[in-house]
């Protein structure tokens, strides 16, 4: 078997296993279903690892059904793996494995269907990651969606769960249809759907209105998935209600896949025609806005899953800025950042799931001091929270320092300030919640809602996802341990930085991608890989953001005890916060209106400079 043949198997095997569990689910004992599903995901992870090793030498290309291209065009669909998307495929399968491991004893009432949906979700994500065809990406994007909507609304006894799933479904489907329009417009002109063929054709093409519109429409769907402001509203509503292991996949990798899709489509298909400078400007604006809005909203939450969800939005904004500079350093930093973030954020969601099952809600205020005796959970929580704030040697800290440096070098000198502020505020919010829940620190918070109109959800009425567990099962803790270890490994393994640099270098080499996919030529002599490693300055800034995060956390805990004069100085921020809260209304109509405004702004940012 060749490595090329592994790629379709990574899609087909989870589908077959999902069907098997669906067909035989009611006859199989629960433990067999658990093991089958987890082993399938782990097997896919093994295949992804083999693919990653191979793609390090040279891209792996397979034209499905043997429909190879002739003279640069083809009727078929290629799957193409370079180290970046092979690594992403490994991250997907690894997170699904951990989520499934955590789910043993989970969701008793729908176990077979839950596992089948998780495996179909895996198949969708792998297909999206590996595909080298813009319509095929759309198909797997929809498969991810179909599975994800149902997984979100799983807890039907809770009306907000169904509502969250509905919002997620409507907004994401709308984004997907807009992408499909873009694909159609592009196809009408070029008669091809494969990224390498389109890239080769567009390279000799002036970026006229059709090309710009097609690009904007295609990436709109992906940016909806990536939760860029103002496409981001669905994310918090969906995360707040989805079961914890599902949140792991949403925050850890599904949202990031949206960014990957946008970056891949740009680099390979449109990179030769739409000027880099315009795309950089547009993506930096969207990324910075997303990071800022997400961080403020994160700090305002007391519903723990919602808090973590806004922190994800905020971090995706930072990843976006890394990709936006469109060079090797920024891409390597962002990829490393994504992996490091996936580990700690997933661990935090699973820990929240444990709190929910143990204490019956996820409200920071209601849980005040409740988990004081739970030492092991507390240790894991604070390790992950500090990791989120940027504590070395977690991979997140390395990714953050490389990315902020790359964005600053690209001419955005203010970027490190934003990166540190976002890490401090989001990390601080998570630490604040932890200090209240596990430490009982600060004055006892009020239980009734203090917010005015607009979005406010306390998490007090969240339904547990397991029948009351006397103690936390070992499998749950094991899953959390693996996730944290993964994030540490990304920062600690001596060659990790270099591997990410190499992956980024291959990812940005669009000409190599096109020629290798179309003619099976060997890899072009690679450019030198950028240097990605810990630096003294980077570590210093990481520690600064951790210190600031602790400051923010204690400020959050003891704000009421500050002198009145100091508190009054925060008054100008109140109207801004009130508006932000009101904008996040939970109303689907509002979200759709913002979505269209977002498309218009993206077009303006990309199209106006070309007039």
């Amino acid at each position: 078997m060749t490595t090329g043949q592994l790629m379709p198997l990574m899609i087909a095997i989870p589908i077959v296993m999902a069907c098997l569990i669906l067909a035989a689910g009611s006859y199989l004992p629960r433990v067999v279903t658990d093991i089958l599903a987890t082993a399938t995901a782990a097997g896919v992870a093994g295949m992804a690892a083999a693919l990653l090793i191979h793609s390090g030498h040279s891209r792996v290309v397979t034209w499905l059904g043997g429909w190879r291209p002739a003279r640069g065009v083809s009727v078929g669909i290629p799957l193409v793996a370079d180290p970046l998307n092979a690594g992403l495929a490994l991250l997907v399968a690894g997170l699904v494995s951990c989520a499934l491991l955590y789910s043993w004893k989970y969701m008793e009432s729908v176990s077979g269907r839950f596992f089948a949906l998780m495996l179909l979700f895996l198949a969708g994500m792998e297909g999206f990651t590996l595909s080298g065809d813009v319509f095929d990406m759309f198909v797997f994007f929809e498969l991810m969606g179909a599975a994800a909507y149902a997984l979100t609304g799983m807890k039907i006894e809770d009306k907000t769960a169904v509502q969250g799933g509905l919002i997620f479904g409507v907004v994401n489907s709308l984004g997907a249809y807009i992408s499909l329009f873009g694909v159609g417009i592009l196809y009408s002109r070029f008669g091809q759907l494969g990224l390498p063929q389109l890239g080769a054709m567009l390279r000799q093409h002036r970026p006229d209105a059709l090309v710009i519109v097609a690009f904007v429409l295609i990436i709109t769907g992906f940016l909806v998935k990536a939760a860029m402001v103002p496409f981001h509203f669905w994310l918090a509503d969906a995360h707040a209600v989805a079961p914890a292991p599902v949140c792991v996949l949403f925050s850890g990798v599904m949202v990031e896949l949206g960014l990957y899709g946008a970056a891949r489509v740009y680099w390979v298909a449109f990179g030769g025609t739409i000027p880099h400078a315009d795309v950089t400007r547009a993506f930096i604006v969207f990324g910075a806005l997303t990071a800022a809005v997400g961080a403020v909203m994160c700090f305002l939450q007391r519903h723990l899953k919602r808090l973590l969800a806004y922190s994800t939005i905020s971090h995706v904004g930072l990843f976006m800025m890394g990709f936006a500079v469109l060079d090797d350093d920024g891409t390597a930093g962002a990829a490393l950042y994504v992996v490091g973030h996936a580990g700690v954020k997933s661990a935090l969601f699973l820990l929240t799931g444990i709190l929910l099952n143990r204490y019956g809600n996820v409200d920071e205020h209601r849980l005040y001091g409740r988990a004081r005796g739970d030492r092991l959970t507390a240790c894991l929580y604070f390790a992950a929270a500090l990791g989120l704030a940027g504590l070395p040697p977690f991979g997140l800290a390395l990714g953050k320092s490389v990315t902020e440096d790359a964005v600053a070098v690209a001419g955005y000198g203010w970027a490190p300030v934003l990166f540190i502020a976002v890490s401090a505020v989001t990390g601080g919010a998570v630490l604040r919640a932890g200090l209240r829940v596990f430490g009982g620190l600060g004055p006892r918070p009020a239980l009734e809602s203090t917010a005015g109109a607009g979005e406010e959800s306390t998490g007090g009425e969240e339904k547990p996802e397991t029948g009351g567990l006397p103690r936390t099962p070992v499998t749950m803790l094991l899953a959390i341990g693996i996730l944290l270890a993964g994030s540490l490994a990304a920062g600690l393994l001596p060659d990790a930085g270099q591997a990410f640099a190499h992956a980024a270098q291959r990812f940005t080499d669009a000409a190599g991608y096109i020629s290798q996919a179309l003619s099976h030529a060997g890899a072009a002599p690679p450019r030198p890989d950028p240097a990605v490693a810990w630096t003294g300055e980077g570590i210093g800034l990481d520690f600064l953001s951790v210190a600031l995060a602790l400051g923010v956390a204690f400020l959050g805990l003891y704000a009421r005890r500050l002198p009145a004069a100091l508190r009054r100085s925060a008054a100008p921020a109140r109207p801004v916060i009130a508006v932000l809260r009101q904008v996040h209304s939970g109303h689907i109509g509002d979200y759709v209106a913002w979505l269209f405004t977002g498309i218009a702004s993206l077009t303006a940012l990309l199209g106006l400079p070309l007039l």
């Binding site: 087909a12 067909a23 059904g65 009727v75 269907r113 319509f135 149902a150 329009f181 009101q582 218009a600």
Partner: protein, 267 residues
Amino acid sequence: MSRSARLVVFLIGAGCVAAMFAVAFFKMPAFGGSMHLYRDLAVPASVSHYTANVVASVNFDQRAIDTLGEETILVASVIGAAVLLRPAEEEAEMRPKAVGRTLEATKLAGYLLLPVTLLIGLDVVLHGQVTPGGGFQGGVILATGLHLLYVTGSYRALDRLRPLELFDTGEAVGAAAFAGVGIAGIVVAGNFLANIVPGGTFGQLLSAGTVPILNGAVGLEVGCGIVVLVAHFLQQDIIISAQAEQAKPGGSSEPQAGERVGTAERS
């Protein structure tokens, strides 16, 4: 946002998007032009695999993985509907009493059309490689045929003749078979979803290699999937809402409303 604020925000955005579409549409090649790259590639490719229906060749041979993805979307949607429509803890399932009357003419038409519809469905599935149609269309026709029972008789008649477990399994088997044919392609020809079956005679029933096999798999999956999907919606509407009827103040007492069959007992 208030209603009018939402409308203003939406209209501004949607106006810009409409303008974008207009600009892009004017740059698109005119409809019905003679130049088309993909057509020029797909027709010879289809003929080379003895497939008279080029659309079937594109869907089940040249771009077969798209179709694998699409039929898997259907599987995920059906499971999703089953999960979301399952009876909640506080909901009870009621068996509805046979009420209402069906016109004799409706019954007769239904019973006459039932075998005809099933035959047409099978025909559409089997001839997907030579004429318009195939597994998706035929599967929907097959599922529709079965629901003529609901029109002609009662929900009970449909319920008896429709063992859901069997259809659940059929759906899973159909979906897995598609992926299985793909994997067989790797084993036999070294390529996922390669057309590994001998091509047969162009334009005849036995032609196009794996296309009719994949059409059959999709037909099974779609037919069963739609039956399961509709079943869950009917169940939600007829069985589970029966309790709401009964809970209404002044509503009839329990034995008259229906026979109680237990709480959330379905798997």
